[in-house]
Amino acid sequence: MNNLFLMFNLPEWVDYIVSGVLILVVLIGISLMSKVKTAKLGNRLSALAMLLAIIVTLINAKIFTINNYWIIFITIILGTVLGFLWTYRIKMIQMPALVAVLNGVGGAASAIVGGFALFGIGAGTDTFSVITSMLALIIGVITFWGSLVAGGKLSNVISSKPTVLPLHKIITALLIILMLALIVDSVVGIIPNQLILLIVTVVISSLFGIVFTIRVGGADMPITISLLNSLSGVAGAIAGLATKNLLLVSIGGIIGASGLLLTQVMCKAMNRSLLDILLGKTTTGKKAEFVEEAKESQEAIEEIDPVAVLKDAKDVIIVPGYGMAIAQAQHLVKQLADKLIEQGATVKYAVHPVAGRMPGHMNVLLSEANVDYEDLYEMEDINSQFKDADVTIVIGANDVLNPAARNAQGTPIYGMPILNVDQCKNIIIFNYDLKPGYAGVNNPIYSRKQGVSLNLGNAADTLAEILKKI
C-alpha cells in the first residue's frame, strides 16, 4: 500500500482509528464554528488535530530512519515561520487576497503530491491510482493559478475588470478537452514518458486556471474565492485517493463541500448561476436606459441636510459596501455610530451576503473596528425594518441596494435579492461617485426627489466631514 503501513509495527487498524479520531476532532471543531462564542475554540481544535496529524504521520513514517531526515524538519520549520510571519500582522483589508493566495498554496502542495503519485511514489501504479494522481495534479494546479490570479485581482496587482481573450470560450473548451485527453492518455499511455506527460499536464492546467479566473470581475470574486476554496479541498481529497490516505480524503471532502456550499450561498445572493459566472456572462448588460433617466432628474432633487437628520435620528441603519473597504472607513463608521448612540439612537448594520469581495467581508471589517457582532444583521432579518427607520446610512454600497433589481428586466442584477433601503424615508449616501455599480445598472435612489443626501468622494473624507459637524 504505502510506506506508512509497510514500515509500521503496530497493526493497520490503529492508524485508521487514529485517523478516525482526528477526523472527529475536526468535525467537532467545524461544528463549533457555527457560533461566535465557540468559534475560536473550534478553530483551535482543528489546528490541534492538524498538529497531531503531522506528528502521527512523522512517527508512522519512522522519520528518524530516513537519510538526511533533518531536511524534512527544516522544511516544516521554514513553512511554519513563513506562514506565521506572513499572516500574523496582516491588515484586514488584505484578507480577501490573502485567503485567495493561501488557497493556491495549498492547491500547489496537493498538485505536487499528485505529481509524485503519478510516478508511483506514495501510490500504486494501477488505473485507479493513476487517474486520481492525474486529477489531483490537474485540480491542484488549476487551484494554484486560479488563486494567484484571483489574489492579484483582489490586491489590484492586475486589473480587477474581467479580461476577455479573443475566442475565450473556445480556448476554455479546448483546454478542458486537452485535460480530459491527458487523463485518458495517463491510462492508455500514448505519451511514452511520464515526465513529458507531467509537464504537458502542468502547462495545460496552468493555462486553464489562468484563463478561467482572468475573466471574472471584482464583484464576482466572492463566488470565485468560494469555488477555489472548494477546489483546494477537492485537490487534497483526490490526492488522498491516489495515496490511499484516509485523513486527506475525509478532510478534503469536508472542505470541498464547505466551499461548494458557500459558492451556492453567494450565487443565490446574486441571483446568478455558477455556470454563468464561469462562462463570463457577467456585467455587460443593458444600461443605457437607466443612465439617461438619472441625468435628467438630477436638478430637481431636494437634498436633505445630513447633519440635521442625523441629530434627530432615533433609529439608524448602516449599510456598508465594498466602498467602505476601499476607503478603510470602518473605523469612522464606528465613530459615527458611537456618536449617534450617545444621542440615544439605536444603530444597526445591514450586511448583504455579497457586499465586499468575499463571503462575510463586511462583518470582518466592522469587527476590526470594534463593532459588536450582535449589531450586524443579515439581509432577511433587517429588510422589514428599513421602512420604520429614521435614516439609512449607505457607505460605499450600490448594487446590493439598487431597487432596479426588482423591476429592471434584462439587467445583470434583475432578480437579485436586495436590501430595502429605498423604503426608508431618509437616506444618506457616502459613495465615491454616481456611476452605476459593478453591475452597470444605474441606481434610481440617486435620483429620488426627496429624503436623499448624496455625499460624494472618498467615504473616509466625507464621513470625517460629517463627523466634525455632529
Binding site: 457555527s34 522544511t75 506562514g83 476554496n229 485517493l241 490516505n245 471532502g253 462575510g360 450586524l376
Partner: protein
C-alpha cells in the same frame, strides 16, 4: 521475508476494497461537511472560509509521506526538492490559515465578552 511478501499479496487483494471504501468516505465526508457548515451564519463566513483554507493544508500529510516514499525509493534529490517544496507550501497554508482565522475570531469574540 516470506511473511512480508504474503502480506503484500493480501494487501493487493484488499486494495480494490480500500479504494471503494475511500470513495465512500469521500462522499460521506462531503455530505456531513455540507450539513455541518450549513449551520454557520453568514456573519462567520470569512473565518469559516479561512479555517477551511487552513484545513486544506491537511495535504501536508500527503506531502510528508510522498517525500519519505521518494527518499526510500532512492530518489532522494527529487524527493527533497519537490517534497520539500510541497511541505513548505502546505505548512504555510496550515499555519497562515489558522493564524488569520484565530485573529479574526478574536476580533469577533472580544466584542461578545464586553456584552456579558
Amino acid at each position: 521475508m516470506k511473511e512480508q511478501k504474503k502480506q503484500w499479496e493480501c494487501k493487493g487483494d484488499i486494495m480494490e476494497l480500500i479504494q471503494y471504501i475511500l470513495v465512500g468516505v469521500f462522499i460521506v465526508s462531503t455530505i456531513v461537511g455540507y450539513f455541518l457548515i450549513n449551520n454557520v451564519p453568514s456573519l462567520l463566513h470569512t473565518p469559516l472560509m479561512s479555517g477551511m483554507n487552513a484545513l486544506s493544508g491537511i495535504t501536508i500529510v500527503g506531502a510528508l509521506l510522498s517525500t519519505v516514499a521518494a527518499v526510500n525509493a532512492d530518489k532522494a534529490i527529487i524527493g527533497f526538492i519537490f517534497g520539500g517544496l510541497a511541505i513548505i507550501l502546505a505548512m504555510i497554508n496550515v499555519v497562515g490559515g489558522f493564524t488569520v482565522t484565530d485573529r479574526m475570531l478574536r476580533m469577533f469574540s472580544k466584542k461578545g465578552d464586553k456584552h456579558e
